[in-house]
Symmetry: C2
C-alpha cells in the first residue's frame, strides 16, 4: 500500500473506544476483519491447558491485530484484551482479501511484516526455553522500555499488572513479584505505585546475557 493506502483505508473507518480490561476478540473466534491500534496497548494471549494465559505479544499504535487469522482463514488462535484505554479501528476482511489479490506490492509488504513477526516468535521460543525466569523478567523490562518508551520521570509508558508481567514471562505471579522485589532492592529498577522504571539498564542487560 502501502503506508499511504493503509492509512487511507484506516482513516475512512470509524474508530472505536475500548476501555482498559475490555476484550476485543477471543481465542477461537472467527474474525471477519482486522483491528488497527490507534492508541493504547492490547495484550494478545493464549490460554494454556493449566488455565494460565500466556501473553504472546503486546500491540500498540500502528500495529494490526488478527491479520494472521484473516489471511490463513482460520479462527483466531489468540485473545486480544485492552491493557490500557484504547482506540482501535476495524477493517473488514473483504477489503483486505481483495487488495491482497490485486495489489502485489501491498501483499509483499504484509508478507515482509509477517516474516518479521515470525523471526520475533523464534526468538521468543529460544528465550523461553533457554533463559531463566530472572533473565526473562529482566528482558521483559528492557523490551517494554524499548518498544513503548518511558514517561518524563523514567517510568515505563505501559503499566502492566504483576500478573500480566508474569504471563508475558511465562511464570507464576509470586515468582515474578519476588524477582521484581529483588531487582528493586538491587537498584536495577525503580517503582512508584504500579509504575515500574528501568534504573540500571546495563545491569539488566548483563543479567540477560548471563553475567
Amino acid at each position: 500500500m502501502s503506508k499511504e493506502e493503509l492509512k487511507r483505508v484506516s482513516d475512512s473507518k470509524i474508530s472505536k473506544s475500548i476501555k482498559k480490561g475490555q476484550s476485543i476478540f477471543e481465542e477461537g473466534e472467527k474474525l471477519n476483519g482486522v483491528f488497527c491500534v490507534r492508541a493504547g496497548v492490547s495484550k494478545l494471549s493464549k490460554l494454556s491447558a493449566n488455565g494460565k494465559d500466556q501473553i504472546v505479544k503486546l500491540a500498540s499504535k500502528g500495529e494490526v491485530m488478527g491479520q494472521r487469522s484473516v489471511i490463513a482463514e482460520e479462527s483466531s488462535n489468540l485473545s486480544a484484551v485492552a491493557v490500557s484505554d484504547m482506540e482501535v479501528c476495524f477493517i473488514p476482511k473483504e477489503g483486505i482479501v481483495d487488495t491482497l489479490h490485486k495489489n502485489p506490492d501491498f501483499t509483499v509488504e504484509v508478507l515482509r511484516h509477517m516474516a518479521h513477526d515470525l523471526r520475533e516468535a523464534d526468538d521468543v521460543i529460544v528465550n523461553m526455553s533457554q533463559k531463566s525466569v530472572k533473565q526473562r523478567v529482566a528482558e521483559a523490562f528492557l523490551y517494554l522500555k524499548e518498544s513503548f518508551g518511558e514517561d518524563s520521570e523514567g517510568f515505563l509508558s505501559v503499566t502492566l499488572s504483576r500478573e500480566d508481567i508474569a504471563n508475558v514471562v511465562g511464570t507464576a505471579t509470586e515468582s515474578c513479584i519476588r524477582i521484581i522485589s529483588e531487582f528493586k532492592k538491587k537498584g536495577y529498577i525503580k517503582t512508584s505505585g504500579k509504575k515500574i522504571g528501568v534504573a540500571n539498564e546495563k545491569k539488566l542487560r548483563d543479567l540477560v546475557e548471563g553475567f
Copy 2:
C-alpha cells in the same frame, strides 16, 4: 503457483546431496535463495547465549527453508543442519522476488503458509512456557509420529539423537534421557537401538493434557 509452478521451478534446478550432520546454512548467513527439501530431514536451530542449540523446526520433504530471511531481506536467524542424508534443491532469490511481485496468487499462497508457521510458533511459545519438560517430551514424540510417520515396525521414521530431542524440547540432555527411560519403563514408548517408537499413544496424550 502454485504447486505446479513451484514444482516446475524446483525440478529445473540441480538437486544436491547433503550428508547427515552436514550444514546447509548458518545463523547470521546472508541467503541468496531458498532451499527445498526433496528428501531427508533438516533441523532448523538457533544458538542461545548459554551455548545450547534450540531446535525451532524440523523440515522434511516438500518444505522450504530460508524463505523468511529471503523475504524479510535479513540474514538468517536459524542454522540448518541435516539430521539424515538429504536431497535439497536451491532456488535463487531473484526468481522468487520476481515472482512475488508478478504473481499475486503465489504471494498470497506464501503468505498463507507463513501465517500458518506463525500460528505454530505461537503454540510452541505457549508449550514451552506452560508445560513441564515431561509433557514436552511426550508431545515431541507425538509430533514426530504425526509429522514424519513411522516404519513398518512402528518406530519413528526420523531418528534423532537424545541431544537433538533435548534441543527440540528445550531441556538438558540428561533430563531428556531420564524421561525417555521412564517412558520406556512405563511402556509409553519402545526403543530398539537409537530408534524410538510410540507404544501407548493414549497415555502420552493424557500426559500432555495434564492427567
